[in-house]
Amino acid sequence: MQIIKVNEVFKDEKCISGKATGSFFRNEVEIVLAKTPVIIDFEGIEVITQSFSDEFLGPIFAHEGQDILRTLKFKNCSEDVQAVILSTAHRFLSDTKAVS
C-alpha cells in the first residue's frame, strides 16, 4: 500500500484545479496503482474542482469499474473534497457493473 500526498505533488496549494492538472495527476497515480494499492492523502487541501476530479478519477473509474475501489482509497478529505470525489464516482461508476 502506497500513500500519495497531494500536497507534496502540488506544493503550497489549497485548491487543486484544472483538467490538465487532473490528467497529469492521473498518470502519476496510475503508474503506482499498476503495482500496488494506493491511498490518496488530501491533507491540507481545502477544495478540488469538479474538472480536476473528473479528469483525475473519471477515466480510472470508467475503465476499471467498481473493482478499483478495493485498491484506491482516500484519506484526510475535507467535506468539499469528499463531495467532489463522490460526485465523480456517481457519474463515472453508474454505468459499470457492481462488484460481485
Binding site: K19, A20, I39, Q50, L69, K75, V84, L93
Partner: protein, 247 residues
C-alpha cells in the same frame, strides 16, 4: 481611466488600439489590488495561472474564500479554452475591492455559447436564441461533452466534461452575495441572489463571463455539489453501486 487601462496592460494585449499617450505614472506593485490582463492560450496551465492570480490578489490578506475564487477562475478558463474554439485563447483580469468583493472577467472571441450548445444533440432544438442558450448553459450537466456529436479534431474531445463548471461558479457567486454576468452573441444575463436579469446589449461574438464574489464568505461547495447530484440522481439506478472509501 486611461491610466488604469494602461496599467492593466490593455495596450500590450490589444496593440490594435493606439495608445493615447506615453505612460505618465510610476508602475507600483499591483499585489493585493489587481492582476493585469492575462492571456491564456493552453489548458495545460490553467491551474498555475489561477494560482498565480490568487497569490497576487490575496498577497496582503488571508481570505477565507480564496479557494472559491480560484475554483471560479480555473473552471471558467478551462471552459473558454475547451469549448469556444477561440483563436486568441482567453483573457482574464481580476480586481480586488476593500469592501470584501473581488471581480473577475474571463473573455474569449470564440463561437459563443449558443453555437456550442447547438452541438449537444439533447438540447440543440431548445437553444433557438442567445438568451435561451445562456440560461440553458447555467443548468448543471447541460454544457458537458457527453451528449455531443463526435468531432475528434475538436479540442474538447481531449478531456472529459461534466458540464458543472459554470453552474458551480454561478452558485458560488450567488451564495457569497455576488453575481455572475454572462454575455454571448446578442444576449446578456446577470444572476444574483435576487434572481435573473436580462440586459440589452449591442452584442459580443464570443463569450464574456464577469463574476463578483465576497472573499470573506464561504460558498460551501460541498452543498452545491450535493444539490446538483440529487438533481442528477433522479431516475438513476444506483442499486449495488459502491462508493469510494474515505479513511
Amino acid at each position: 481611466m486611461n491610466r488604469y487601462i494602461q496599467r492593466v496592460n490593455f495596450f500590450n494585449c490589444c496593440p490594435g488600439f493606439a495608445q493615447q499617450r506615453e505612460e505618465s505614472f510610476q508602475r507600483h506593485d499591483a499585489g493585493g489590488r489587481f492582476v493585469p490582463i492575462t492571456e491564456i492560450y493552453s489548458m495545460d496551465n490553467t491551474d498555475a495561472v489561477a494560482q498565480d492570480i490568487i497569490r497576487v490578489i490575496f498577497s496582503q490578506m488571508v481570505a477565507p474564500g480564496e479557494s472559491e475564487v480560484k475554483t471560479a477562475l480555473s473552471e471558467l478558463m478551462d471552459n473558454a479554452l475547451q469549448h469556444s474554439s477561440s483563436l486568441i485563447g482567453c483573457i482574464a483580469q481580476t480586481q480586488l475591492y476593500r469592501n470584501s468583493f473581488v471581480d473577475g472577467v474571463i473573455l474569449d472571441c470564440g463561437i459563443g455559447i449558443r453555437q456550442h450548445l447547438r452541438g449537444n444533440i439533447k438540447i440543440s432544438a431548445e437553444v433557438t436564441t442567445d438568451a435561451k442558450a445562456l440560461l440553458k448553459a447555467l443548468e448543471p450537466h447541460i454544457s458537458g461533452t457527453h451528449n455531443r456529436k463526435k468531432d475528434f479534431e475538436r479540442r474538447e474531445n481531449r478531456y472529459n466534461n461534466a458540464g458543472l463548471g459554470l453552474s458551480i461558479c454561478c452558485e458560488i457567486m450567488k451564495r457569497t452575495g455576488g453575481f455572475l454576468q454572462l454575455i454571448s452573441g446578442q444576449a446578456c444575463v446577470i444572476i444574483d441572489p435576487k434572481g435573473i436579469q436580462h440586459i440589452p446589449i449591442a452584442g459580443w461574438p464570443g463569450t464574456v463571463v464577469v463574476f463578483r464574489a465576497n472573499y470573506q464568505k464561504l460558498a460551501h461547495i460541498a452543498d452545491i455539489i450535493k444539490e446538483f447530484d440529487i438533481q442528477k440522481s433522479k431516475g438513476d439506478n444506483l442499486k449495488g453501486q459502491k462508493k469510494p472509501e474515505f479513511i
